[in-house]
């Protein structure tokens, strides 16, 4: 009953929603960004150039850093640790989420630890990770990203597995399901949206972990570019890696959304 109720609530929410997607939406969005950039461009010269630079200067800095290859090098380094850390977190988080969601003993064993680690701000553990991995190479940065990412994935997966519609479990039993088919027919598909929502949350946290680790552990990648150009007051160049991180986040989340449409087409919105 719960899934149907949830679905009908979503449908109702969609009907109630004031803003339905329309063709003109994108024009307004792009226009607003354009206006914002224009105001910034015209007001910037009046400020101290050490604090504010106009968008045109940032655009030039973007070209400079791309031509010198600095940006690409940093981006590759950052993305390596980000994607490796996220992948580890997803594999481990989904596995632990399933185990703790399905078996009470596993839940009782792991829940206190998970709660403890989750309530400590992950940033506070960055120096510890540095020490554990001796500040050597990309391993501590990958570990940092994984630490930032794992909890939303784990907790969401666990909720997904535990929130399986009891009615559907009974249907499966009534039709004499095997344990394997119970997983493939019922538990896994009903957890998919929860897992993907967890991954979306993890992406945002993972980028924080990546940058913080690059600040404090590695001094490489996009995080290092931010520190480096900040220290020499090249605000225009400092903005380049910041905007790149933002783009990385938007693209990754868009990818997960696309993935959701592919692996969970029954959730695709109607109309």
């Amino acid at each position: 009953m719960t899934i149907r109720e949830a679905q009908s609530q979503v449908v109702q929410a969609q009907r109630r929603r004031l803003f339905r997607p329309r063709a003109g939406d994108w024009a307004v969005r792009l226009g607003a960004i354009g206006v914002f950039l224009l105001i910034w461009e015209f007001l910037a010269p009046g400020w101290n150039p050490l604090i504010i630079r106009p968008p045109s200067a940032i655009a030039r800095a973007f070209v400079d850093l791309t031509e010198s290859g600095e940006l690409q090098t940093a981006l590759v380094i950052s993305m390596r640790s980000f994607s490796a850390g996220l992948a580890i977190a997803v594999v481990l988080g989904v596995f632990l989420g399933i185990v703790t969601g399905r078996w009470r003993t596993a839940f009782n064993a792991l829940d206190p630890l998970v709660s403890a680690f989750y309530s400590v701000p992950s940033v506070a553990l960055i120096p510890l990770i540095g020490f554990i991995f001796k500040f050597q190479g990309e391993t501590p940065r990958i570990a940092a990203v994984a630490l930032f990412c794992i909890f939303p994935v784990l907790i969401n997966t666990q909720q997904g597995v535990r929130n399986v519609d009891r009615g559907l479990l009974e249907v499966a039993r009534a039709f004499n399901t095997s344990e394997r088919r119970l997983w493939t027919d019922v538990i896994i598909p009903s957890s998919v949206p929860f897992v993907l929502a967890g991954i979306r949350l993890a992406i945002g946290r993972g980028l924080i972990g990546m940058i913080v680790a690059e600040f404090f552990i590695g001094l490489v990648g996009l995080g290092y570019l931010i520190i480096q150009y900040g220290n020499v007051f090249r605000i225009d160049r400092m903005f380049v890696p910041i905007i790149t991180v933002a783009a990385l986040g938007i693209i990754s989340m868009g990818f997960v959304q696309w993935l959701e449409g592919r692996v969970a087409p029954w959730l695709r919105r109607e109309q």
Partner: protein, 256 residues
């Protein structure tokens, strides 16, 4: 009772809930004959659904036993299929996949699965909606799919747990007629739970009226309205009003 054999027999069934504080039914006896449509009618909360679930082996009895075809029921059987009030369709499966569900679990050959899925989708009037997801269908159409899923395994016994209870009145009557037509084409043992007197009279050969908790069989009423039936014909039948009044009186006593 005639010489017909009991297909399902419930003997002294007892079920308690909530650490023994609530007795749902106590020493309940019931016999379902082969190929009859038996409706179980009772006030809400009288344990109709629990009884049906025990008949399918989904719920363990605290005492007594249920025998189908001479064997004690301990787990769901392959020749019994159930239709649920909440439809119980998997939102991630398309209609044809939902209908194929029981067939796949029974490990039937792919060709048989395809043939039966097509045939039963046709039978319940869902032709053209094979590839829809449940949420794209109306409640009535979802329950047609639920019915097709149960019929597709070609069960000897069909258990119906208030299958039309959550539908609007018009859709309910349409589906009742569909069920009557399908039953007419191939009568099979059917236990149909309902709290609607009209529905019980329209569907059932006999109506078992349960008392309030702890439930027992209050009375068994034979519905002497000939088949083939439609809901409209049953309601217009001279016997209908008398049967309804009798059920109504019994239910009122039970609920009081």
């Amino acid at each position: 009772m005639s010489a017909q054999v009991a297909r399902i027999s419930v003997e002294g069934a007892t079920k308690r809930f909530a650490a023994g504080n609530v007795t749902v039914f106590d020493g309940l006896d019931l016999a379902v004959r082969d190929k009859e449509a038996l409706c179980i009618l009772g006030p809400s909360g009288c344990g109709k659904t629990t009884l049906l679930r025990s008949i399918h082996g989904l719920v363990r009895l605290d005492d007594g036993r249920i025998v189908i075809d001479g064997a004690d029921v301990v787990a769901p059987r392959r020749n019994v299929a159930m239709v649920f009030q909440h439809f119980g369709l998997m939102p991630w499966k398309r209609v044809h996949q939902n209908v194929a569900y029981g067939l796949e679990l029974a490990r039937l050959p792919a060709a048989t699965v395809r043939e039966r899925v097509g045939r039963y989708i046709e039978m319940v009037g869902l032709h053209g909606f094979e590839n829809s997801y449940p949420h794209q269908l109306s409640g009535g159409m979802q329950q047609r799919a639920g019915l097709a899923r149960a019929l597709a395994v070609e069960p000897d016994i069909l258990l119906m747990d208030e299958p039309f209870g959550s539908l609007d009145a018009l859709t309910r009557e349409i589906l009742q007629d569909e069920l009557l037509r399908i039953y007419q084409e191939r009568p099979r043992t059917m236990v149909f739970i309902t709290h609607s007197i009209e529905e019980a009279i329209a569907i059932g050969d006999r109506i078992v009226v349960l008392s309030a908790r702890p439930s027992r069989v209050r009375e068994i009423i034979a519905v002497d309205i000939p088949r083939p039936r439609t809901v409209a014909k049953v309601i217009a039948h001279p016997r209908f009003v008398e049967l309804r009044d009798r059920c109504w009186r019994l239910l009122r006593e039970a609920a009081a």
